[in-house]
């Protein structure tokens, strides 16, 4: 999908054309679901997060001013939706570990999705934000409230670790 097309879809969606938004959504749906899954480690929560993100994005579609930043805008909303999900879970007094179940174990050996279970919660989130969200260290630092340099070192360490695991798997 090129920028002109994104621009046109946004233009139409602002005027209430749900199918124009649908087209934008479809372009990113796979990536969004994977992002939420990696981030939340739970397919049900991931589903909820993507749904709530889609709704929020459509409500606020008029905020999109520049087509090239659409993806980043959308994933920012998704990251917030994921964080809300964690917050809600925390309020329900469930820790992430209790609810995540062996979700990642159901994926094939050697896949990045499976190997993510070798990372800590924070490392996994940083990797998700970077690899799938395509955010830079500064943005991740702002989103997670972690020092930017910490993000950078954790990211490089985690990626290195994942790569080694991939190569040996």
């Amino acid at each position: 999908m090129n920028n002109d097309r994104i621009k046109q879809c946004v233009h139409n969606a602002v005027r209430g054309d749900a199918s124009a938004f649908g087209e934008l959504y479809e372009e990113y749906a796979t990536g969004m679901y994977k992002f939420a899954l990696w981030y939340l480690k739970n397919p049900h929560d991931a589903e909820d997060a993507v749904q709530s993100c889609a709704l929020k994005a459509y409500r606020n579609i008029a905020c999109v001013k520049k087509p090239e930043s659409f993806r980043s805008w959308l994933f920012q909303i998704l990251a917030n939706a994921c964080k809300d999900m964690i917050r809600n879970r925390a309020r329900e007094d469930l820790t992430v570990d209790e609810i995540d179940s062996p979700v990642f174990d159901s994926y094939e050996d050697g896949t990045v999705t499976r190997l993510l279970s070798n990372l800590s919660e924070e490392e996994r989130r940083i990797v998700t934000l970077s690899v799938l969200g395509e955010f830079n260290s500064r943005e991740i630092s702002r989103m997670l409230g972690v020092n930017e340099n910490t993000v950078r070192s954790k990211l490089s360490r985690s990626l290195k670790k994942l790569r080694e695991l991939c190569e040996t798997a």
Binding site: V131, R138, N149, S153
Partner: protein
Amino acid sequence: MDDLQFIKEKEREEKIPVPAALSRNAIENQIAAVKPKKKKKGKIIAFSLPAAAALFLALAFFVLPNVSIVSRYIPKNGTFHAKNAQSLGFQSYDSIAEQLSEIKTAYEKDRKENTHYWLSFGYEKSSDSAASVEFNGFAEEPAAPVPQDKAAEYVRNDELLGVDSANAGADGAKEHSDTNKRDDAVDEQDIVKTDGEYIYYLPSGGTTIYIVRADAEKLTKVSQIENRAEASKYQDYFTGMFLTGDKMVVTGEEFFETPQGDINRFTSVRIYDIADRSNPTEINVFRFKGYSESSRLIGNKLITVTSTGFDLYSFRKDDISTFVPCYYCGTEEKFVEAQDVVLPENTTPDGFISVFTLDLTNPEQTEPETISVMTCGAAVYCTQSTLYVYSMQYDYADGSKDITQIISFDITGEKAEYIAKGTVDGSIGDSFAIDEFDGYLRVAVTECTYGNQWKRVCRVVVLDRELKQVGATEGIGENESVRGVRFMGNTAYVVTFLNTDPLFVIDLSNPAAPAVKGEVKLPGFSAYLHPIGENLLIGIGSGGTETGTDGSAKISLFDVSDPTRPKEVNSLVFKESYLNTDYKAFVDLKDGSYLAGLTEYSDDYEHFVVSLVRIGVTDGQLSLLTRYRINADEYNYGDEPRGLFIGDTVYAAAGTEKWDYPEVNYSEEIPGGNIYVDEDATLTTPPYEPSYTRTVFINAYDKNSGTLTGSVTLYQGEE
């Protein structure tokens, strides 16, 4: 390949099916009940990116070619154009409207008849809705009146520091650096300039130009020019500047919001009188509708290229603002004359490339000469006599491939004249990949065909004055893409890259049969090539191994004296680093040495050392002569340093950003804050946002020793 790239590629292979509840249909049903919120009135955010990209963004610049393109679809039946389309100007606005109406009719008819085709691009929902769905594609909003108050003076000098009493101009200036440009006679806008006495610096964000008197180690801020970013109706920012004697030309972009909430985009050109450097005064301002593509200054002639969208659905016969670009001289609104609107043959009118030529001999009185061509364009290449505007398009009509459309203008007169329109297969990725010599235009392209088999191949193509192809090399670098290119007379040096870097030498002396003369394969690749005399080339880029880049930066020296056997003489490799490959950041010190910007990071990625490095060729070998450190130990993100020199002093204009994180008691949760996930996966929230300080400064160094001799802080605050 770096780890991030590796994981990304691996991840892309893993398909995770999306649950049915998240299908497009399901989501569309869900959102059917809600309506999007209306646009908020008020401040429009400037779309400027901080100049210094974050680490991985910076790396991405090495991985991907720097491409400046506008893309668009080409309708299946080629184009929608009037039968009597003319490449010359129109008689009157009425005749433009007439032709456009005719095209619009044909266009709508085709959409009804070929719904299936349009549907396949998602242009239509279903066949029966074809007539009712509004097609607003590629639209730019109609023109809005410019607020009267915009004519007000913009210059503010309320923050003067140490005003220099000697306000003499730039007379008797020492030898100094110039912007590294394509053609010495064609000046290019830049964010840092010097006249040998003063340094003019526009840091990222585009809000302020600082004028600094530079007397060896003594740096004094003399004045500053600000734009009015605080105004609520619109926001504008500066994009670059030119110096011409005691005048400064500043280009910028402005956004207007109409009462309907639509945003209009204008390119601004402001002319300042800087005879008194401590008190610059605006003497004229012009605003041209459209995105600012680029500007060039040739002698006293300023050429500004803008592009703006046009769409047949907003087009109304009775409203000239829907089909002719407007511009403002001060506050007076004008439209491009009908005679100056060009619709080339076989062209679907889907945008405007406008060329505004200003004679700066008498800037108080001057008025722009205009020409507008009804098509898309994005990137600019300009020689002393010809201007080329090109853009990439996706050609679905002919087997799904990238093509590049090129429009040329004769700029020898007071006014730019349209010459021709042409296309080549493939994309032109780099501003050095297009070059005119001896009446021929040569372009280095990366051809890409999609479909079942994605295929890429690089090539050098030669076009004549009418932009008709006269010759092309065989495909070079299969499945690679063009990275660095340098044309020198009848020879082209082309770097392509996939895992290793082949440097090809191409002989163009017979335009009809350009041929590859020789090649050398090396690890890594050069993104910018700078010639030294006729036999040597410096390559600025990334180092690597047989399998790809390895995170190191590399400066290579190539010996091309024997075109059949180019070779790398030697190279400087900086581990875990990157070089600024923007050609304007490469500075010729005019003594056989050059400056390049280098960022190195430590093993733990926690520290950056940013410096300018001075390199030179001694005894036939490339060597590192001096290193000018911008920041002693830690460099947070900011504006990548830009080097310049006056006499024996090297200056670095840069900016840093510092983030301070407060001590956080993680046991305390504060609602509404950010979620912090610590090592034990317990969820807490930090109490405050980190504090942020930005510093913009210019440092002075002794050229030979590299010692810091002076510095001036231009800005410090939480901008």
